[in-house]
């Protein structure tokens, strides 16, 4: 059901943990849906120098969190915003259709963290880009 890459990132997730002095923190999901993802980023000169995550969720949620943090490390914020759920899923050699929504979660967490950073910097207002997004539909896409 899961690719080898997914299993690898699930069993040996990269970048697990919190960044206490993070520059941006994004949290998405809802425990009712079985998934919560929290992403921490450290930003220097508009570039993501470090990223960590905490995830409550299934194997796909953990693997996509791990892969997403790997993908954005070293990227500028602009570049990081181009990382979509598809990019993450592809980097994992694919996800089962019923698990595709988990990769959306990773994309949302990433955006939320970047928005949080921008909000802290006064680049956007809190209303426009909350750092906590409740993913509305948590049913598998079937």
């Amino acid at each position: 059901m899961y690719t080898e890459k997914v299993m690898d990132h699930f069993m040996n997730p990269r970048n697990v943990g919190e960044i206490p002095d993070a520059d941006g923190v994004g949290e998405v999901g809802n425990p009712k849906c079985g998934d919560i993802m929290k992403m921490f980023i450290k930003v220097e000169n508009d570039r993501i120098m470090d990223a960590k995550f905490l995830t409550f969720g299934c194997a796909a949620a953990i693997a996509t969190s791990s892969m997403a943090t790997e993908l954005i490390k070293g990227k500028t914020l602009e570049e990081a915003l181009e990382v979509t759920n598809k990019t993450v899923a592809e980097a994992l050699d694919g996800l089962p259709p019923v698990k595709m929504h988990c990769s959306v979660l990773a994309e949302e967490a990433l955006r939320a963290a970047i928005n949080d950073y921008r909000r802290r910097k006064g680049l956007v207002t809190g209303d426009v880009a909350p750092n906590k997004i409740e993913v509305p539909d948590c049913k598998p896409d079937k």
Binding site: P31, K32, C33, G34, L54, T55, F56, C58, A61
Partner: protein, 384 residues
């Protein structure tokens, strides 16, 4: 350790089936030699099944599994007794093979009461009694729950139904072959079972229908199963069911006692070694092989898959809904919050499991839970 999802086919059972997969391939409804051999094999399996349940052979009807037996019992009685009434009583923790037929009947003009359970998953027989109305035609309460293992007070519920003149069906798919099940002592009118839960083949089950109970056929066609269940008989499957139920019934009590001792060791060990855990299901009124927990702050599938990599098969929620994120309706009925229900793990022991298996689980489970908790934002938040 997922014997509740399915079990291996016992070699003796396969051996009994083999003749009907090779030379003796007759259609049990034809007249000539091969057909008669097949018919005799089917009737012998029926006798074995009847004997195991304390029933008469004429009260046993073979089906394609537990799901079909449940569908048939519920829809068959409902439609047959429609003129008498349109109210059905069941519980919130039934298997989907009972719940979904009930929901289907609601679309067809029936009223269904889904009784709540207590925090151990027990149905209160008093609730059943109070729920029965003038127009109640059927009560269906499972013998033992497939997730949390709780054994319901079926005999008492059956007595109440009998007194009030309402038919009583029990889904005994998880019970048959694991605990003694005797339709006479229980006083049930209909009972479902499925062979693959007791080392028989998949795709074969049976419905016990007490003599005199009227129910509509569900699968219409040829005159098989005395005109009540059409379709060419799955002879090998039926023979396998008969052989498996006979095997499972022999020394049932000793085997159950051995497995229950392993279960108690497993439950005791987990409760001792892992903090923030809840045992689900009744402490003693439970299936001998069932151990079911909720581990706070983590999610079941990821726990399950970690264990799988380490060689331990388990289940989270019921097998049918694994892979979906909906939390189990059974755990929600116990009153657990969603995020707690999400962290569930079912380990079900069978004949093949040993002390060593239990020791191994007790060794790897605590560290696996801990690893996942270290990744969990809920756990981090709780540590503050």
């Amino acid at each position: 350790m997922d014997n509740a999802a399915t079990t291996s086919l016992k070699p003796e059972v396969l051996e009994a089936m083999m003749p009907y997969l090779t030379g003796k391939y007759g259609n049990a409804s034809t007249l000539y030699l091969e057909g008669r051999e097949a018919r005799e094999a089917v009737e012998q399996a029926r006798e074995r099944t009847a004997r195991a349940l304390g029933a008469e052979p004429e009260e046993i009807y073979f089906t394609s599994g537990g799901t079909e037996a449940d569908n048939w019992a519920i829809k068959g009685v409902a439609f047959a007794r429609r003129e008498k009434g349109n109210h059905i009583i069941t519980s919130q923790i039934e298997h989907h093979a009972v719940l979904h037929p009930c929901e289907y009947l609601e679309k067809h003009g029936f009223r269904v009461t889904y009784l709540p359970v207590d925090s151990d998953g027990l149905v209160d027989p008093g609730d059943v009694s109070r729920a029965i109305e003038q127009d109640t035609v059927l009560v269906s309460i499972m013998f033992a729950n497939n997730e949390i293992g709780t054994i319901e007070p079926v005999a008492e519920i059956a007595r109440i139904c009998r007194e009030k003149g309402v038919l009583f069906h029990t889904d005994a798919v998880q019970a048959v072959g694991h605990v003694p099940v005797n339709v006479e002592k229980l006083g049930v009118d209909l009972l479902s079972l499925s062979a693959h839960k007791f080392h028989g083949p998949k795709g074969i089950g049976a419905l016990y229908v007490r003599k005199g109970v009227r129910l509509d056929p569900f699968i219409h066609g040829g005159g098989q199963e005395r005109n009540r269940r059409a379709g060419t008989e799955n002879v090998a499957g039926i023979v396998g069911l008969g052989a498996a139920i006979e095997l499972a019934s022999s020394s049932l009590e000793e085997r159950a006692a051995r497995i229950a001792a392993l279960r108690d060791k497993l439950i005791g060990g987990v409760l001792e070694k892992v903090p923030d855990v809840r045992l689900n299901g009744h402490r003693t009124m439970r299936l001998p092989g069932n151990a079911h927990f909720c581990f706070r702050f983590i999610e079941g599938e990821s726990l399950l898959l970690n264990l799988d990599v380490k060689g331990v098969s388990a289940s989270s929620g019921s097998a049918c809904t694994s892979g979906s994120l909906e939390p189990s309706h059974v755990l929600l009925a116990l009153g657990l919050p969603h995020e707690m229900a999400a962290g569930s793990l079912r380990l079900t022991l069978g004949d093949d499991n040993t002390q060593e298996d239990v020791d191994y689980v007790l060794e790897i489970l605590p560290e696996t839970v801990n690893k996942l908790r270290m990744m969990s934002p809920l756990y981090a938040a709780r540590r503050g």
